[in-house]
């Protein structure tokens, strides 16, 4: 694509476009539905963001609602719990990335080393099964297992811990949240890495074996570099969602005694914006979320571009 563009640099832009359009008209036709889709469902609703600066009342619509400027933003920033929920959101998100992000990569690498196809397939299927279980069910299980007489509590007690309701203890909240998240998503998330692994040239492995490289060496010098572009792209995307934590899960697992560590922006929005049908306020917080997310996305993208020339855009 880029080579094409430089090749026809001398011609005027208009001519280039016309020629390009003629040459690729069927491709353009194919992409048309996607463009229409994005325009209608992604760009058109964006004007709705404006209600963040209004006191929106559905009955009178956007035209009739009063403009209030940054009032909702000030209200959010001056909320008594603002710093707490911001801190919790970042903590949960960063912990999830640190522990949750490498997990599917490791699983994919391990699965890749399995030589028996039948066994490999079984492991894969079993590991992505939990992904299909409803969040409500998962949280119900977690809640029961972590009760004072639950299975996980029994294990903790057997290992020398104290018998108590684990979910009521704030120091247990992150481990429970992150470990159950890894358990649920590890298999599903590893699929994309396995696909990337299949694309690595097998001859490289043979050459390495001839040179006397062991399995670990092969993994380190061939598999991982082969996976790197995928890993980086997924990491950048993950950073772009840094403020989006698993809201339903937190809502289902937290309790007043763990609010201190578990109350995040989205649960706050749920309590105040949605339950009270406060659309403007929730939109304002949503907008704040998106801006922070975009900043993180761009920053990660920029750093990655500088360091190893892989980037989203």
């Amino acid at each position: 694509m880029r080579g094409n563009m430089t090749g026809v640099k001398e011609k005027s832009l208009k001519k280039t476009l016309v020629k390009d359009f003629k040459m690729n008209k069927w491709k353009y036709l194919m992409i048309l539905p996607v463009i229409i889709y994005i325009a209608i469902f992604a760009y058109k609703p964006m004007y709705g963001i404006l209600i963040a600066f209004q006191n929106f009342r559905p009955a009178v619509g956007m035209a009739g609602s009063k403009w209030v400027g940054f009032e909702h933003f000030t209200r959010f920033f001056s909320d008594f719990n603002f710093f707490r929920i911001l801190r919790n959101t970042f903590s949960i998100s960063i912990c999830s990335i640190i522990f949750g992000f490498p997990a599917p990569i490791i699983l994919a690498l391990l699965i890749n080393e399995i030589k028996n196809t039948k066994f490999k397939r079984t492991v894969q299927t079993v590991s992505y099964m939990p992904y299909f279980v409803s969040m409500v069910v998962i949280c119900g299980l977690v809640k029961t297992f972590c009760q004072s007489d639950g299975m996980i509590t029994d294990i903790v007690v057997a290992l020398g811990g104290e018998r108590k309701n684990l979910l009521a203890d704030k120091s247990w909240f992150y481990p429970i949240y992150i470990v159950s998240n890894i358990w649920q998503y590890i298999g599903w998330d590893s699929i994309i890495y396995l696909a990337a692994l299949a694309g690595i040239d097998q001859e490289q492995y043979e050459a390495a074996r001839v040179d006397g490289a062991g399995r670990l060496r092969q993994m380190w010098n061939i598999t991982l570099p082969g996976l790197m572009p995928t890993i980086i792209i997924l990491f950048i995307l993950k950073m772009g969602g840094i403020l989006n934590v698993g809201f339903e899960k937190i809502l289902l697992l937290y309790s007043p005694t763990t609010y201190e560590v578990a109350d995040v922006i989205s649960t706050y929005v749920y309590r105040i914006g949605i339950l009270e049908a406060n659309f403007s306020y929730s939109t304002a917080i949503g907008l704040f979320n998106s801006i922070v997310n975009i900043i993180f996305l761009c920053a990660t993208n920029l750093i990655s571009k500088k360091l190893n020339e892989t980037s989203l855009f």
């Binding site: 009342r57 008594f80 005694t257």
Partner: protein
């Protein structure tokens, strides 16, 4: 394929019957209840006639208008549209066209209603807001307008009915005049009437949450029914020694005061606002009495008598614990008690759950707070601005129907001779409801308008007849003798202006989060009660005063209505 065709034919047949029924002629294909309905209609018009006459004599001008009303059923071809999340057809029928209640209602009133029910499982507020963003509204909307009615009138969603109610809704008007508290609740601060409410006949129906105990364990331990806080401790300890059971309850259950009343307090874990004897609004958690109550719970916890899971316990969790015999004394709602009894029956573990009176400090004392919701429910049926002028009267008549004597019986008990019989002047459900395979509640949903919050006046007898006798007794034990202890709640009809509401709810939410967090920490001992003063200080820093001030002003306006 054949089955589908048959179903379609059946559906078509039903629709035809409905249409025929609405034409107000005796339809040939109608089941046996047709006869009963017609005889009922005759008495109905009598009663309605009586009512209008009474009202008419009160006011000359009204008499002219009202005299023209010939009673139900009304002879009309007009169809009214209604959006409602109330009077939903029973889940055992496919649609309202198959629901005996809705079909017969059209016959009784003579008015056809085109119902729109929001799909089950959708968020009601969202469904409502989506609907009203469209300019073409249904004629009537049933929604929680209370609390923001003035704005909905201003925005041109619902009509101001102040001048129309006395003329076209005589039964409802009479009911409001006879019940000043209800009257206050159903108008705005500026005195505008905006719709038809739903009322509980007695506050008994609002006091549906309270303490309960296992009578079989009490008997085995040789203990009397616990009355004082000391008795409670003895009972909890005995149950713990003998059965390993602990004291458990759902502390975040709405605004349940739990056992607080014995200490002179009004709330447990959830932020509770109460009205003191001088009509001043207070925060329950800022009282010294509350500290004593929490100290007691903390003591139980330290002695290992309080279930460590109460922090995360919900109704289902409690039910499981109860079924496993891990709890012998608890605090739950009537539905909970009903399910405890059912679970005991099906498992055969011999558990005999009965209601237990609210505990007091010394024998002979009275508790100061019982769980008792406002008997007024915020859901109100309004007539929209989209309803054409000539149909407004018809809509008012239809909404007035449940408040007429006949409508009251129909709404609560269904059709005489079918779902209820008059025994000694009192309506009683027949076996069609009480012995139904579907269960009394589900069956009543088919024949009466009382599935959920319904409309009109909810009869006490209707509620009690559907419950297990032991459950009714529990309700009696909680309510009778404690009638005044139910008056502490902040009325649901108090209205704040949108600006007041935003400011107060921001503070309220922050405080509520903090209170819940700290209350549970005080109970479990994670936070020492020595820090109670610091807790009060933080509440003040968060703007507790300001929130009370806003809400107090709104409450004063309510009192002056």
């Amino acid at each position: 394929m054949k089955k589908k065709l048959l179903a379609m034919l059946l559906a078509a047949a039903t629709t035809m019957t409905v249409l025929a029924g609405c034409g107000n002629q005796a339809a040939d294909g109608k089941p046996a209840d047709e006869g009963a309905a017609t005889s009922d209609e005759a008495t109905a018009s009598d009663k309605a006639g009586n009512n209008t006459e009474e009202d008419g004599s009160a006011d000359e001008a009204e008499a002219v208008e009202a005299a023209e009303f010939a009673g139900y059923p009304i002879d009309t071809d007009e169809v009214l549209t209604l959006w409602t999340n109330q009077i939903m057809p029973s889940s055992t029928v496919a649609s309202w066209e198959e629901s005996p209640f809705h079909v017969t209602l059209a016959e009784m009133t003579g008015i056809d209603i085109d119902y729109t029910f929001p799909a089950s499982g959708t968020d009601q507020k969202q469904a409502f807001n989506l609907m009203i963003s469209d300019s073409n509204l249904p004629d009537m909307i049933w929604y929680s307008f209370m609390g923001d009615a003035e704005s909905y009138i201003e925005d041109g969603i619902i009509r101001d009915l102040t001048d129309l109610l006395p003329k076209y809704a005589p039964n409802y008007w009479k009911f409001l005049q006879e019940n000043p508290y209800y009257d206050k609740s159903l108008k705005t601060d500026s005195g505008k009437y905006y719709g038809f409410g739903f009322f509980r006949e007695s506050r008994w129906q609002s006091a549906y949450h309270g303490p309960m105990v296992r009578q079989d364990w009490l008997d085995e331990c040789g203990l009397p029914m616990p009355e004082t806080i000391e008795d409670w401790e003895t009972t909890i300890r005995a149950f713990n020694d003998k059965y390993g059971a602990k004291f458990a309850f759902t502390p975040t259950w709405r605004v349940s005061p739990g056992m607080a009343g014995a200490f002179g307090a009004y709330g447990t874990v959830e932020l509770a606002l109460y009205i003191d004897d001088d009509s001043k609004l207070q925060i329950a958690q800022m009282q010294d009495e509350w500290k004593e109550y929490i100290t007691w719970l903390n003591k139980l916890n330290n002695e290992g008598l309080l279930d460590p899971d109460i922090v995360t316990l919900d109704d289902t969790g409690l039910r499981t614990k109860v079924a496993n015999g891990q709890v012998g004394l608890t605090n739950a709602n009537l539905t909970g008690l009903n399910s405890f009894i059912l679970d005991a029956q099906s498992s055969g573990n011999g558990a005999n759950w009965v209601g237990c009176p609210y505990p007091v400090m010394n024998k002979g004392d009275k508790t100061c707070a019982i769980f008792c919701e406002d008997p007024v429910v915020p859901i109100v049926a309004g007539i929209t601005t989209s309803c054409p002028e000539e149909k407004v009267e018809l809509a008012l008549r239809w909404l007035d129907y449940p408040f007429s004597e006949e409508g009251f019986l129909y709404w609560n008990f269904g059709t005489e001779g079918v779902s209820y019989e008059m025994v000694e002047g009192e309506p009683h459900f027949t076996d069609l409801i009480l012995k139904s395979e579907l269960g009394a509640a589900e069956a009543a949903g088919l024949y009466t308008g009382e599935g959920g919050w319904g409309c009109g006046i909810q009869a006490l007898g209707m509620v009690q007849q559907k419950l297990d006798p032991a459950v009714v007794e529990a309700g009696d034990a909680w309510y009778y003798g404690n009638e005044d202890a139910g008056n502490w709640t902040y009325p649901s009809a108090v209205t704040m202006t949108p600006e007041e509401s935003t400011e107060s709810s921001t503070i309220y939410n922050a405080i509520n989060t903090y209170v819940k967090e700290m209350a549970l920490k005080f109970i479990t001992g994670e936070e020492s009660l020595d820090n109670y003063d610091a807790f009060i200080q933080t509440l003040n820093d968060m703007g507790a005063e300001r929130m009370l001030e806003i809400r107090q002003a709104a409450y004063d306006r309510f009192l002056q209505r």
